[in-house]
């Protein structure tokens, strides 16, 4: 071998210098690509949730952690949540941008996930992390979306900060006669339930109506006379008590009879509880009484 090299050293030297002169500049030119190829970048992505069962229209708490387990730092990338959009909504978008990662990184700006429909089986959520050419997926989360349980008390709706949900049991007074009202408020602010005033003119029936802003507008049914009579309840609610632990609703209840009448002026409902203070097209107000309701309010629910 040595004798071969000695014998052909001139030619071999020429070839070696040629290789160096070509490969050298090429290596400098392609250094980024070369580094990329030989970089050791690995990551493990994990997603967690404190509860796998979530009520409809509630936020799904998801946390994510990315562990860089390769030799080299992970360059800036994107973490995306992937799920069935028919059941879980991701806002404002499904992806978040991330900077370079070395070691372990908790992602604290994940998209907001809201359960928007009830499926017949748990819904899968995964996270996909992409950094340049590198991509990996997380473990699977299977979220069960269930119908919301009836809240015991009116409360702030956590899934939509700043909204009040009137669902719960209320003590009421209909024309000064005490009773109870149990209602449930839907996602569209519609209200359904029942009332009971054992000593009153109208002792029991169904409640249907809606909440809007701070107004409560409902009909209390008169069983057997649903097509010709109704009790229209119009009120305004406020939080009360030193710490807002009570919610009170004040207004009027109007006994209405079907009529062909229409009115140019609607009056003002829920303010003065008299039969000539509020008017409803195709109904006649025969009497009006004060309506009052109160219930404990849960600020932290």
């Amino acid at each position: 071998m040595l004798s071969f090299i000695k014998k052909h050293k001139l030619i071999l030297g020429f070839i070696a210098s040629g290789v160096v002169s070509v490969v050298g500049p090429a290596a400098v030119y392609f250094q980024d690509e070369v580094k990329l190829v030989i970089k050791d970048r690995e990551a493990k992505v994990e997603i967690f949730t404190p509860t796998l069962k979530v009520e409809l229209n509630k936020k799904i708490e998801i946390e994510a952690r990315i562990d860089s387990v390769g030799r080299d730092e992970l360059s800036p990338g994107i973490l995306s949540l992937e799920t069935d959009a028919q059941f879980i909504s991701l806002k404002p978008s499904r992806s978040v941008k991330l900077g370079p990662i070395s070691g372990s990184h908790s992602v604290d700006s994940l998209p907001e996930a809201i359960a928007i429909n009830i499926p017949n089986k748990p819904v899968k959520i995964i996270a996909r992390y992409t950094s340049g050419e590198f991509s990996t997926v997380s473990n699977n989360l299977y979220i069960e979306i269930v119908k919301p349980a009836i809240a015991l008390h009116p409360h702030f709706d956590r899934s939509d900060t700043g909204r009040i949900n009137l669902s719960g049991e209320w003590e009421i007074q209909l024309g000064g006669v005490p009773g109870t009202m149990t209602i449930r408020q839907g996602t569209d602010n519609k209200i359904n339930g029942s009332f009971s005033v054992p000593g009153g003119t109208w002792s029991a029936g169904a409640v249907s109506g809606h909440k809007d802003g701070k107004t409560f507008r409902a009909h209390f049914s008169i069983p057997g006379k649903e097509n010709t009579e109704t009790i229209r309840v119009a009120g305004y609610f406020d939080l009360d008590g030193a710490k807002g632990e009570l919610i009170e609703l004040e207004g009027c209840a109007y006994h209405l009879l079907r009529s062909p009448l229409t009115y140019e002026n609607g009056g003002a409902e829920g303010v003065e509880c008299t039969s000539n203070s509020a008017f409803y097209d195709y109904w006649e107000v025969t009497s009006a009484v004060r309506f009052y309701a109160k219930s404990p309010f849960d600020k932290n629910e």
């Binding site: 700043g162 909204r163 809007d212 079907r258 229409t262």
Partner: protein, 319 residues
């Protein structure tokens, strides 16, 4: 094909069905009529025709509640027109248990101003403070929410006379109604909502229901029957205000409002660039002091702001 005659006879029966003096909307048959009349169920034998027809009737009746306000509006109904200040025109429609108010204001004829009210009371009490002899209309404004103590707080950009009263919300939809307070009105979509900061008056709301004269809103889980108001503009600067009302506040969904809005715009022959929905429910209000009429919930509520349309005296004087 075979069911068509039966459909037509059933349809005619339904059309003539008395309402027994009640005002309960029977709008489902509005959907049923054309369907029955156009039914062409080839291959169905003689025997199952009636059950099939009844099934069709039941299925359609079950699925057609959403069209109530729109379908009632599309029937012939009473409409009264009046002239207002500034060559504006108001038309009030009555159909079933609903009322629709349309106000058309030609470009440059009124001054549009936004008012930060933050008043708890009836709408009449809240608007009394801003109405003048020149006022053409006052329209309910944007949204409000609650602070941590449960107190009401306005939501969305509100600029009054060059002063920002409430900050812009980073909503991905909706828009900002802007005015220079001197006859120029424009609605910016959400992506350019920051432009609202350049105008003397601005009010942010959502959603945009009509875009380039097309319905631009889809039904969602929260869309329910409420009183509704929307304000739209043409590229020429004309303004069309539409309010949909019901005695019990259950007038219609945003989709129904959008369809009616487009229908009214088409009937007027105006091309609406954008129409922006204002707060619905108790906040949906239209007050017309000149003809002493008001539309909307009459009870106590919280009114964060309002849009006022005043006769543009300067414009009129110039002319």
């Amino acid at each position: 094909m075979f069911l068509a005659p039966l459909g037509r006879s059933l349809a005619s029966l339904l059309k003539e069905a008395p309402t027994h003096g009640t005002a309960v909307p029977l709008s489902w048959y509005d959907h049923l009529l054309p369907l029955l009349q156009e039914t062409d169920l080839k291959g169905i034998s003689e025997t199952p025709r009636l059950p099939a027809c009844l099934f069709l009737l039941l299925a359609i009746a079950q699925s057609s509640f959403a069209g109530t306000a729109y379908s009632e509006f599309m029937k012939p109904h009473r409409a009264d027109a009046s002239k207002l200040h500034g060559n504006a025109e108001v038309v009030t429609h009555r159909f079933g248990e609903y009322q629709l108010v349309e106000i058309f204001i030609p470009a440059g004829k009124v001054k549009v101003t936004v008012h930060d009210l933050q008043i708890k009371g009836t709408a009449a009490e809240a608007y009394e403070q801003i109405i003048t002899a020149d006022t053409v209309a006052v329209v309910g404004g944007g949204f409000y929410g609650y602070d941590k103590d449960g107190d009401e707080t306005p939501i969305g950009l509100t600029r009054e006379n060059g002063v920002r009263k409430v900050a812009l919300m980073p909503w991905s939809h909706g828009g900002v109604l802007t005015s220079d307070g001197d006859g120029h009105v424009r609605i910016y979509p959400a992506k350019t909502a920051a432009q609202g900061g350049r105008w003397a008056f601005a009010l942010q709301s959502k959603p945009i229901i009509v875009l380039n004269n097309n319905v631009d809103v889809a039904r969602n889980l929260r869309d329910s029957d409420f009183n509704r108001v929307a304000v739209g503009t043409t590229s020429e600067g004309d303004t069309l205000i539409i309010g949909l009302f019901h005695s019990f506040g259950q007038a219609g969904t945003l989709v129904q409002l959008a369809r009616i809005y487009k229908e009214v715009a088409d009937q007027r022959g105006v091309m609406i660039l954008r129409a922006l929905a204002m707060d619905g429910g108790a906040g949906a209000q239209i007050h017309l002091p000149e003809i002493k009429k008001s539309f909307g919930d009459t009870g106590v509520s919280y009114f964060p702001n309002a849009i006022k349309f005043d006769k543009n005296s300067e414009q009129n004087n110039k002319k």
